[in-house]
Amino acid sequence: MQSARLPPVPLDGLDERFSRLVDVPREAESGAAPDRVSTWHILDNGDRLAELGVKPAGTILCVHGNPTWSYLWRRLVSAATEMAATGAGSAAGTEAWRVIAVDQLEMGFSERTGRTRTLADRVLDLSGLTDELQLAGPVVTFGHDWGGVVSLGWALAHPELLAGVMLLNTAVHQPADTAIPAPLRLALNPALLKASTVTSPAFLETTLALAHPPLTRAVKDGYRAPYRSAARRGGIGGFVADIPVGPEHESHAALEKIAGGLRELTVPSLFLWGPSDPIFGDRYLDDLIDRMPHADVHRFEGAGHLIAEDVDYAQAALGWLASRVQPRSDPAEVAAPGQTTSVTSAEYRPLWHFLDELEDSVETALIEMRPATGARPLQVSWQLLSRRVREIAAGLVRIGVRPGDRVSLLVPPGADLTAVLYACVRVGAIVVVADAGLGLKGLSRAVRGAQADYVIGRLPGLTAARALGWPGRAISTARLPAAVARTLGVSWSLGELARLGQDTPLPPEPRPTQAAALLFTSGSTGPAKGVVYTHGQLAAVARALSRQYGVGPGTGLVAGFAPFALLGPALGTTSVTPDMDVTAPATLTATAVADAVRVARASVVFLSPAALVNVDATKAALTDSDREALAGVRIFLSAGAPVSEHLLARAAALMPNAQAHTPYGMTEGLLLTDIDLDEIRQTVPVVGTPSGVCVGRPAAGSRVLVSALDDVGDAVGSPSDTPDVTGEIVVSAPHIKDHYDRLYLTDRQALRGTGVTGADGARRWHRTGDVGHLDDVGRLWVEGRMVHLIRTPAGVITPVGPELQSERVSRVARAAAVGVGPAGTQQLVIVVETSPASRRVRLAEHTLAAEVRAAVDAPVAAVIVVPRLPTDIRHNSKIDRAGLADWATGILSGGRMGKP
């Protein structure tokens, strides 16, 4: 027995004025004499708020896990207090929160009573404490690790006080069919338990080693402070021993009761998650979301178990409380992702409606120029495609796929992908489409994060899925030999699914507001983000394409740009996949395009810019007959990234009767503006200083506004269509995304300040992260990315202007403008590829530097020549300016002159 005490001072980051001890009378049935008390150590900013004269909006009740203590919550206590102090002085009246962070009994600096505590005891203990503190509502609980379970137990026991729940990595349920995490299994081994948790600090030290980046010594010492001796670590062992490893465990029933109770919990909820957690990985998050589907979720890519140390969880939590638990006036700020979906359009037609209408048609729906199964093009009729989709869909239902299940598609574009995709969406499953162009690492991160329930793939995809431990039950496109199937854990092939689905009726159609697809962003500007589209929104994408480019039934469409290719059947077109390695668009040849056009009698061609470069480069191989086929193309589209005027012009020359278009869009909104070659030519100024790339006028019902930048480069202006104002591009369209997947904070950022009134009330808006301006005829000019702004002492510079200006120097082939130094005092640096290319990295010689400086309308600190500018692998055209800025900073600080 050791009594509670105050922590030693100082401990890094902990303000000792928040520490206090609280005596709580013990429950009579605990066996102790009724006059005994248990003493708790808690952090509490209540007194400080009273001193400030602030009446809190409510209390955040924080419960740490094992083997930490209230020190885990120090930043939240400080941040909430600071916010109250700032708010007290301002007229805005920021709401203040009292924060109470407890040290559970036997833990931290609370009393060592010598008793073994079960989960039920711990919930009761906490209730005793809150009774003693006479805690009045509203209360929002906040728990981490096993403290998450205790906090939820308290939450369920106090519905009258409860206003919300927040969780950092935690788990409430151990699925029967999966093993408990290895680190815990080890600690739970009876022979090791005491040695690893109590006698030695091994469990504590292992936990402290989980931070990203590693904790400083001072913070580690903070965590170690209450657990300096074996006598003080008894609680750590007791906590581990209380993990209910099976139904026979005494805490199992209590855990099941809490886990089950969550399904009834309807208060606002926030899960902040660090996915790099060897203990509570993504599947536990998935389980929590399944129980509490209304919860707001943010996964911090790169953070782990000690998420409270890895990221600024305190600001995230306080921001969430302000918007969700204390609703303010701005409706856009509080609208939940997925709940802002506008009324379903009367024009809504499900993605598969042509498959139903044309189910007896022998016309061609799909052509795959180089199918996996043979050398001759594979042609699939509407009749066949329709039946295949129906059978696979029914088969999916037969094997247990339910609406809302996630199905990851690791299938290259072609007939199989199309059939599987339409089958999945037909039964209400959410298709997860991550481009192999993300690279294996990016793809792996994306697929893991999406927590798919099923994976459908070809042998290479499934092998990768197995090797990298991607979640989901496996389905192969082709029938695999039994041994291979077993090794890869493959349960079914598509053929088997189709057989299972023969003569099986289909379930009711999903509603337009249900999620249909999860598409991943390119990852060229940070980790790939999952973007959720509903059925209504995907149907709107198809409608937008049809409207903008006149594509529909009877149109032959060469689908060289994946996102649009998948929509072929929804548009009623005959879509043809050209012979190319889709993971490397630069492999598409001019001959392959001509072949595809000829076979499908295509009048529309969709390509990506990287493909365009190679098509142009291989045009010498075109025969007269190829050229004749290409002359039949009416519309030609380069989509996915900006493309230069002369490249577009050269490609257009191959299709002399085609209008060349290039749309502006992104994964979150695939078709926002459009411009054709003639207009591009008009917008390239002959003289003067270009400040951006014109991407045309809003397309297909899109609206485009600009949120003006302030002096330091923050987009603070109300979205407006005032011409010549530079700011963040803000878009709205029926076909923009619904929300980001499990990225609550990113969602908020994308919706920030887009509160709209009047006729726009039903519109959904999206902050693109791109920066640009509108001109006086309503055309949009893109000037770069918000994250690539150069913040100089003289003001903010958008990168595209100086790049275009530099490219006017004859020897400069391509330029990138980046900032080096701290924001606000950054220097503009121009990095150039020359023609002919330099063989090494060097400073530009005097004349080149002088020419670039003369061409750019802002002071240039340095001009660096590189053999090649780094671009992202998918588009092979977007320059990684952030990486380039880091690299330039290294060189210009006197570091090694390496390649970028």
């Binding site: 002492p793 701290p822 606000g824 220097q827």
Partner: protein, 323 residues
């Protein structure tokens, strides 16, 4: 106002004194030899001569203190005597004489421990980590000066970085001389960004500090052109202005630092009188970035550089052309 300029025989000191005279101030100077500045009254003497110092400060409203031992090498005791004790004596005398404004001309090296500086604002002077005797003693003296700041005796520290211009015998002449003798190598790849101060801008900032001292006293400010450039471009620009071939040969920066250290020691032990051809300090200066956040300086001093780098180089070229 009546202003004492110490060290007015130097490049910056004489230009400051000239500018103050032109602005209508009554200027007195203090240094060992004649200042050769028209319109000023010279007091000849050393900072370590109490009589000369009290005679120089008598009746003055302001002091601009530039006198210092500026060198890349030499015995530590000499730096301490002139830079630290000399400043202490001047501060004492100025306080006694009821001088109300004191501009201490310092150097960014007082807060520099050898790492690259990329857009930092002026940090506190740090004699412990400063590199070399000059920086160390200037740091100690700056601390002394700022500690003497009060409402009645207002002190500000101004740290111009690498002042150059026509007539500069320190930086420009050394570069040109070495380049002419093919003794000027580029250290490393020459890409480190360095910010410099054209003479007129340094003078402008010092006079602004003297005039606006009631707003800025008690603080230290780095002053530059606010136009960082790769060191190779700067050296080449100065060489071109002087009509000599810019440096073309390179020495790895690490090697130069090591060699600088060695040469410095040998030079001292063999009794070299002048400066060694390379010191570790100089090697660091020429191979790591040195540029500064000028926003606070410009806002507080209400001053903006009037001559750009390119204009400065053009004026330098004109001065060489005339000569």
């Amino acid at each position: 106002m009546k202003v004492l300029v110490t060290g007015a025989s130097g490049f910056l000191g004489s230009t400051v004194a000239t500018a103050l005279v032109a602005a209508g101030h009554r200027v007195r100077t203090l240094q060992r030899g004649p200042s050769k500045v028209a319109g000023v009254k010279d007091v000849l003497g050393s900072l370590l001569d109490p009589e000369a110092v009290s005679c120089a400060v008598a009746g003055m409203d302001g002091v601009v203190h530039l006198a210092a031992k500026v060198s890349l090498a030499g015995p530590a005791a000499e730096f301490d005597a002139v830079n630290v004790e000399g400043t202490r004596a001047l501060l004492t005398a100025a306080t006694a004489a009821k001088v109300s404004r004191f501009v201490y001309v310092s150097s960014p090296s007082v807060a520099h421990s050898g790492d690259s500086i990329m857009g930092d604002d002026a940090g506190p002077a740090d004699p412990v980590h400063a590199r070399g005797n000059y920086a160390r003693t200037k740091a100690e003296a700056e601390l002394l000066a700022l500690a003497a700041d009060s409402a009645e005796f207002q002190v500000v520290a101004i740290r111009p970085h690498l002042v150059w211009g026509p007539g500069d015998t320190q930086l420009v002449e050394r570069i040109v001389e070495r380049a002419r003798g093919r003794r000027l190598p580029l250290l490393g790849h020459g890409a480190a960004l360095i910010d410099t101060t054209y003479i007129d801008n340094a003078v402008g900032a010092l006079t602004a500090a003297l005039e606006n001292i009631d707003r800025v006293h008690g603080a230290a400010y780095v002053v530059t052109n606010g136009e960082p450039r790769p060191v190779a471009e700067l050296l080449a620009g100065i060489c071109r202005a002087a009509g000599v071939q810019p440096p073309t040969w390179r020495v790895p920066a690490g090697l130069a630092r090591g060699a600088g250290s060695l040469i410095e020691q040998l030079w001292q032990s063999t009794g070299g009188k002048d400066e060694p051809p390379m010191t570790r300090f100089l090697a660091e200066q020429l191979s790591t970035a040195h540029w500064f956040d000028q926003r606070r300086t410009r806002r507080d001093l209400d001053w903006h550089p009037s001559v750009s780098l390119d204009e400065g180089l053009a004026r330098l070229a004109a001065s060489y052309g005339a000569a």
